[in-house]
């Protein structure tokens, strides 16, 4: 009796928190600010003051063949808001035929210091069009109007230490699609819950093998089923965002995406394995072993982008990273969302186990009435 009361409290709590999450995510959290400085902002700043600008290299004005320590490398840095158009053009190989002189930010790097020469020789490979850069630079020569290519200012930096080369705007904490980012409040908790669910499957499978109580098998199976459900949500909400942010739905060169896909397939395999066996004992036993074995893919997916990545990962890392730090509002929302999804999972798991129990009872009754076996 007490137990069902608790179940009801969790259910109501989950429902309220889900509604709250939706409200917070859609209405409350402000859109993430890009840290790209607009041309106006740069023009209004004091000459000589240092500002950090980020963008992608849209044009290389003069890249010397042989590096002379005193030589100037000039390139223009376009705002990431142009990134979508850029990606689209890059994909059909039409970078050159499009107009890329928007140049809200123009950067000139003067007098490459001798000390950094070794780094610079490696540099040109990185300095292709489309490279993502963040530069801490000084505002110089505002209001140059004579050259039509320049929007009216230039920036300069004298140290390569001030230049950061990144693989994606996200590495500089810049979202090119701020509205699509809202899906994060549902995507990340779903992924978390799927990991949790598979962990429950692991524990319940081990307990089943140890104790041989069928109830643990029920927990393992039901939890895996919900895990597949939630990882399906995570795996389908991700591409919706990725299309906006990266310009493509899916990237096979991204460790996180590939490992999560593999994880999803493994547990679908687990469900198929269970479905293809009729004998309860064998199903529970063999399912438990595969449930344990399959868990190998969970840390693989969870830690993929942090532990020795064989491939690159552009998937944002939210926790334990210094790049994608969240605003306090976003942090609170994601916290509530995680609690909401966890409670939702717990209440769904309890219900699912109850259903499984009823199903087994029904089978038992059928057998008694039918007189078979």
């Amino acid at each position: 009796m007490d137990k069902s009361k608790l179940g009801r409290i969790i259910l109501v709590g989950a429902a309220i928190l889900m509604l709250l999450t939706t409200y917070l995510a859609v209405i409350y959290v402000p859109l993430p600010q890009t840290s790209v400085k607009s041309a106006d902002k740069i023009l209004s700043s004091v000459e000589g003051s240092r500002i950090r600008v980020a963008g992608f290299v849209s044009d290389i004005l003069n890249l010397p063949r042989e590096f002379n320590p005193a030589q100037v490398i000039r390139f223009s840095l376009a705002d990431f808001s142009d990134y979508q158009r850029y990606l689209a053009a890059a994909m059909v190989d039409q970078l050159d035929s499009q107009w890329w002189t928007v140049r809200p930010i123009d950067v000139e790097i003067y007098e490459v210091p001798k000390l950094m020469l070794a780094g610079i020789v490696d540099g040109p490979q990185d300095f292709i069009k489309g490279t993502n850069l963040s530069v801490l630079a000084r505002v110089m020569d505002k209001g140059i109007g004579s050259n039509s290519n320049v929007t009216g200012f230039s920036l300069e930096t004298s140290s390569w230490n001030d230049v950061t080369i990144g693989t994606s705007p996200g590495q500089f904490g810049i979202m090119t699609a701020p509205v699509a980012q809202k899906i994060f409040y549902f995507h990340m908790p779903s992924a978390w819950v799927s990991y949790l669910a598979f962990f429950v499957t692991l524990i319940a499978s081990a307990l089943y093998l140890k104790t041989r109580k069928i109830k643990y098998d029920r927990w393992a199976f039901c939890s895996a089923e919900l895990g597949v459900l939630f990882s399906t949500i995570a795996i389908t909400t991700g591409p919706v965002w990725a299309k906006q942010e990266w310009g493509v739905y899916w990237r096979w060169d991204d460790t996180k995406l590939v490992t999560t896909f593999v994880l999803w397939l493994v547990y679908i395999g687990y469900l198929m394995l269970r479905a293809s066996m009729t004998d309860t004992g064998t199903r529970a036993r063999v399912g438990a072993v595969y449930g344990i074995l399959g868990f190998v893919t969970v840390p693989m997916s969870l830690l993929s982008s942090r532990v020795a990545p064989l491939l690159q990962s552009s998937h944002p890392q939210v926790i334990a990273s210094n790049s994608g730090s969240l605003s306090p509002e976003a942090g609170m929302t994601i916290g509530i969302a995680i609690i909401a999804f966890t409670l939702l999972f717990i209440t769904m798991l309890i219900r699912r186990v109850e259903i499984a129990e009823s199903e087994e009872e029904l089978e038992e009754l059928k057998r008694t009435i039918g007189g078979e076996d």
Binding site: L273, M277, R285, V289, Y290, V296, L310
Partner: protein, 226 residues
């Protein structure tokens, strides 16, 4: 260990007499390399495709599919001839059965690996030169990891209906990231001659081999029970 060796020897002896699996795997790898040869004829002749890329991917397709065929048969045969019960009645550890099966599968699959590498070298007129040892070594490591997890999954799927279809469904996602991707990458580097750059991949393969071996050794008891 001697029990494991005895079981492995028994499997290999049966195989030597019937040559069922070996001939199937042999023809399979032959056809696979042939298909690649004809499929990529134009681009290979024109030099559009790097042979190290093509070699690594086509070899690993041969290895993994041959392994799946071989490992499936090693348990399915026992089940069909009802000799599995006999094996279970042996007064040895279940883990020894696991080790024995791993050993016999390893020998057969590795043999097919060597044949595939030979066929590749033959059909593509490609000389591995000094890289042969590196390529064979990586094939050995990758196959070991593959067989360790594959033997366990084959034992799992042998209980199911539609087991032929189920084994790849259960196995391929497990090995995709842990074995295939690092092995293909390491093989590509080995063929290109810079195996020393493949340390990360080799560590990854070895790490997963340890994990799969441990899980298999510990849980095999439960799979074959009853």
């Amino acid at each position: 260990m001697s029990a494991a060796l005895a079981i492995a020897w028994k499997d290999l002896k049966i195989e030597l007499r019937s040559k069922e699996m070996l001939s199937a795997m042999f023809l399979f790898s032959l056809l696979m390399v042939l298909a690649f040869r004809f499929g990529f004829e134009g681009s290979v002749d024109a030099g559009d495709v790097a042979l190290s890329d093509l070699g690594a991917s086509s070899l690993w397709i041969c290895f993994s599919f041959a392994a799946i065929v071989g490992m499936h048969t090693s348990f399915a045969k026992e089940k069909d001839r009802e000799t599995l019960e006999g094996l279970l009645l042996c007064p040895v550890d279940r883990s020894s059965i696991f080790l024995g099966k791993v050993l016999s599968n390893m020998v057969l699959v590795f043999l097919v690996d060597l044949l595939s590498i030979l066929f590749f070298s033959l059909f593509f007129a490609y000389d591995f030169e000094g890289n042969t040892i590196a390529v064979v070594g990586i094939a050995f490591l990758g196959t070991l990891s593959l067989v360790l997890v594959g033997t366990l999954v084959a034992a799992i799927s042998v209980n199911a209906r539609a087991r032929e279809a189920l084994l790849p469904v259960l196995l391929i996602p497990l090995i995709a990231f842990s074995v295939i991707i690092p092995s293909v990458s390491a093989t590509r580097k080995a063929i290109a001659g810079d195996v020393s750059e493949a340390v990360g991949e080799i560590q990854s393969i070895l790490g997963f081999a340890v994990i799969f071996g441990a899980v298999g050794y510990l849980t095999f008891d439960y799979v074959l029970e009853g």
